[in-house]
Symmetry: D2
Subunit: 338 residues, 4 copies
């Protein structure tokens, strides 16, 4: 951590900073500049100390973090890529893993049709929401446990692993009985009670990025899962909130190389929630694979016009099949396969 | 809702939109423009129907919402201002209500000192965190129930109502035993399980704005509380995430007149979390009162240099006393009092 | 345009809206909803009238635009893709056009080396800055006309067309003597004097997106060029300002399919300015081609360590050659070539 | 500047950083941490050197700026507040200076009416646009020089100084013949040719903040004016672009205390352009004065319903008079006057 003193700060104030750092077990080095004194605070765990600890002291102008606040999710902690195994599928390897299915499970017929169709087109994981966090209390909130049972049935019938969202920290055990991968939605990325409970479950988990959280905050949230000993963490980029209004959320394509640079965790992309409109999904999906994403999460519906939730962003079966063919080409061109 | 058809959409497609609207119980009026057909869908509950319902139909270019998605929080639903009573204090009236105290309860001595000091300076509610949602798992997470007990003790000793945050939906009952007002933090504004549980408790609640949520989303989240029959809802603006990096969050000062225009609920402002730095707190607090805020939530600490959490944004006792004197002047100049 | 009246607006107020619309030559249709009156204002040029014209009238709650404010840049105005020819190169066709070179022209040796290297690797246009808009007055501002002469010399020696930036509206003629394509930088996207002058010149122009401008504003700025009769307009996405701090600007990958949907103009991507760091350039460049971009603008430097400006984002010759090989694969996988 | 090396960077790489710094005339201090080497680069003009200079060197992980990139606008350069005199009015003193008038000058009658009304209500400067930067080429672009002549006439008749916008760098002399204060609009904050020309003119200038520029960029743009010897610079906050859609631009209220902390220049606030709607103007104006703004820029129109440009944000004469009365109270409560 680098502490910049105000111009003309006296020796006593500089010494207070030094003493504070030493009391926390850090090493200190003073830089007596021509204009300003700068104190460098050194040690392996400075990333876990708040900058406020020093910023609040008299005579301090600013405090800059050198070490990142996350630790377990960092590449410095673990240099090689992590592979996450879930229901027989490996995420983070050469294969680009496509997870597809309806936004919301509506009934048996709908789910089975979609499951069959996406599997035939090459998806390796079935997605489907049973507990839905909806922005309005007057919207359909999901089939809840009945939906989970349908999901488990599809898994059994088709031999495809399933992923579904957890919203209540006390539902982790319930959902774990039915699903192969737990999903933490964007609005819950910093629901730390939920993260701790899922961390303890040790189950594979897809941690979606909060739509206004930085990558640093996202990896720090992943530390909540990893700190409980759960190493099967997959990151999910799903678009961030910006001023642009032609799309629901702006997909942060650079998140992929940034994550690959700073973390060992696999990262997948959800083009459907970012786009909000089916016509934009294919271009974003292709871009994600070209940029190095380890997988995709795509919404598919037998009849988007009749979907209860988010029909506009769902692909039809034929659209999905066509997209999978395109993605196969892109994957190959970057040395991977679908 | 206004459905704009693509240029040249045929009669069949327009008719599909009309039939869909009628099947949902809406009235329809056709606008046969020179370039485009526009279908107006009318009825009191169109705000509760997703725009996707129509956007997904063939031949539709765009769908625009006229009715707001929130209902119970709107001024159209209730024209006069709501007054929220909590522990003998009324929020939303002529008095500007100041809630002050430490970010985090650290120990008995710290809390009692602050409680006494803020009460003497004119604060009407004591704030203090016992369950802390921290971005890093390696940070101090609060005293939990022991903290609540200290809070209740301060309330008894000084006769001042208290506010504290709930993070786990299953802790509502526990916290209700100790606190007069429950606080929903920014990161939980769309934790719908939590909102529903607090709604059922019927307890006074401060709903802080998600730091990247629009005012429309905020009022829609308030509907979750109101829909359960809890009418004692206070809104709390605490800064939004923008590109500006000289401050932790940019306080959205216009949220105050916007809320006053579209909602009947009282709104207070938290300058401390927005600023992140004590030197910016007074100017923002003054601005909030001048703009018409019904109250403030301010962090105060006996010795910010030693604070366990967020010390940089806390005011000292003397800073707080000076600010209260300034706020009294401002309140008077807008026809209110402190 | 759709005008929503406040609940209970009287007949007189509705009539004022109707008369105003008719006075501007529009057709009007009234929608008498159960809760509100909604006035639809119809006609081909409503996009060119400000919403304020109606919003300011008493009894109006809100005004919503149906027609887009841009016209000449829209696909409704011209359905087929525009091809832009410049210096023998065609932008917007099957070939993905790569424009590469140094951020800033430093001297003859540097420029000639880069020009030769990028041409050999397959770039079809040479880029190089002579007039540099720098955020600080104390930074190097470019070689100005001497730089232009070097650029023209490289063009002659190597037979490669060149692109360079114009910053002063009164320099258009000067720069036109040396360059094949004029570039309007991000900070000048809404410098309307500059746009008008370039429009009149009828020269090929790359209009970079303002880093905080919506796609609608970008296409409306393109209308400034097109309205002067200059049809050789290329759009350039170069990243937008968001809260994310791991990258200089967040590249808006969805801008590509959005532009393709709403406009006939070709669009290219500048991964270098978005990334700000060479390590992120290849992933973004690959994503852009996969998403359907018509070209790329990439910074290359013989020795980035010694670059006078923006060295951190420049690729070395070998990095650039490797990236071009990757891009060739991606282009092929989406049915194009490099 | 603080250069952080990657973990395990060898001595040679650290030495390259040291040599580079020394070659630029800086002092260097090495911090040999347990995990990383950190190089502190010291000297009064490090703020004027790009971080890229070091970031591009092999083995460098990140470079952090300690010195701000602006210099002449900083409080470290000049400790006491600057007072700007223009047309007999002093900006930055005890008086809160209100500049008011129409967005656009439409004709003699309109301008004279407004000028008289705002002067009577206590405005000290008349504003009025003659050259208008409009987002669409199909919108009214202003009366140009004819408008300037009307402005000068109002000044003469009423003895009130006037402010108007310059958009073309080559119009500075023309406009200087008619106006007391030149205005640089938000879209031109980084039009460096324009800034340099205005800097050379030495005329009082209001530099509006780019709607997506940080305060650091804003003060760096002010350095362009100051570097030419023009010390009569006034800053103008007018709202920034955020995700919030209930207002045109979110007024950054914290910009006021931040500017006061880091710069000696006076700062005024434009609530009209931020709000975009007359109903939000008074609350924002009151907040600005309470936060410490040195002045306001407010749009007033005799008949907003008939305004050619931005009528929705203009106040009527009676609204403006009422607001001035409110502002007088607020100014007094913070120890100033109107």
């Amino acid at each position: 951590m680098i502490v910049e003193m105000v111009t003309g700060a006296d020796v006593k104030k500089v010494d207070d900073v030094v003493q504070k750092a030493k009391s926390l077990g850090f090493q200190v080095q003073l830089n007596l500049g021509t204009d300003k004194v700068v104190v460098a605070i050194l040690g392996g765990h400075t990333g876990q100390v708040s900058t406020d600890t020093f910023a609040v002291l008299p005579g301090v102008e600013s405090v800059t973090r050198i070490m990142k606040p996350y630790k377990l999710a960092s590449r410095e902690f673990k240099a090689e890529n992590s592979l996450v195994s879930a229901g027989g599928v490996e995420i983070g390897g050469k294969r680009v893993v496509v997870m597809a299915g309806p936004c919301t499970i509506e009934n048996e017929e709908q789910l089975m049709k979609v499951a069959k169709a996406v599997k035939e087109s090459g998806a390796s994981v079935l997605r489907g929401g049973a507990f839905k966090p909806r922005t309005s209390p007057f919207s359909f909130q999901g089939l809840e446990e009945a939906g989970l049972r349908l999901l488990a049935q599809a898994r059994e019938n088709l031999g495809i692993p399933v992923i579904t969202e957890v919203v209540d920290p006390h539902d982790v055990k319930l959902i774990a009985r039915y699903a192969d991968i737990l999903q933490v939605g964007s609005r819950n990325m910093q629901n730390f009670t939920l993260l701790t409970n899922i961390g303890r479950s040790k189950l594979p988990v897809l941690l979606k990025r909060g739509f206004s959280c930085t990558i640093t905050e996202w990896l720090t949230a992943a530390d909540y899962l990893l700190a409980e000993g759960n190493t099967r963490v997959i990151l999910g980029e799903r678009g961030i909130r910006t001023f642009e209004d032609s799309i629901r959320f702006s997909l942060d394509i650079s998140a992929i190389p940034v994550i690959k640079r700073f973390s060992h965790l696999p990262v997948i992309v959800d083009p459907s929630h970012a786009a909000g409109h089916y016509s934009l999904v294919p271009a974003i999906a292709r871009a994600a694979v070209a940029a190095g994403a380890d997988g995709l999460l795509i919404e598919v519906h037998p009849n988007p016009k009749e979907a209860l939730v988010d029909g506009l962003q769902a692909l039809t079966f034929s659209d999905f099949a066509r997209l999978m063919a395109e993605l196969r080409q892109i994957a190959q061109s970057v040395g991977r396969y679908l």
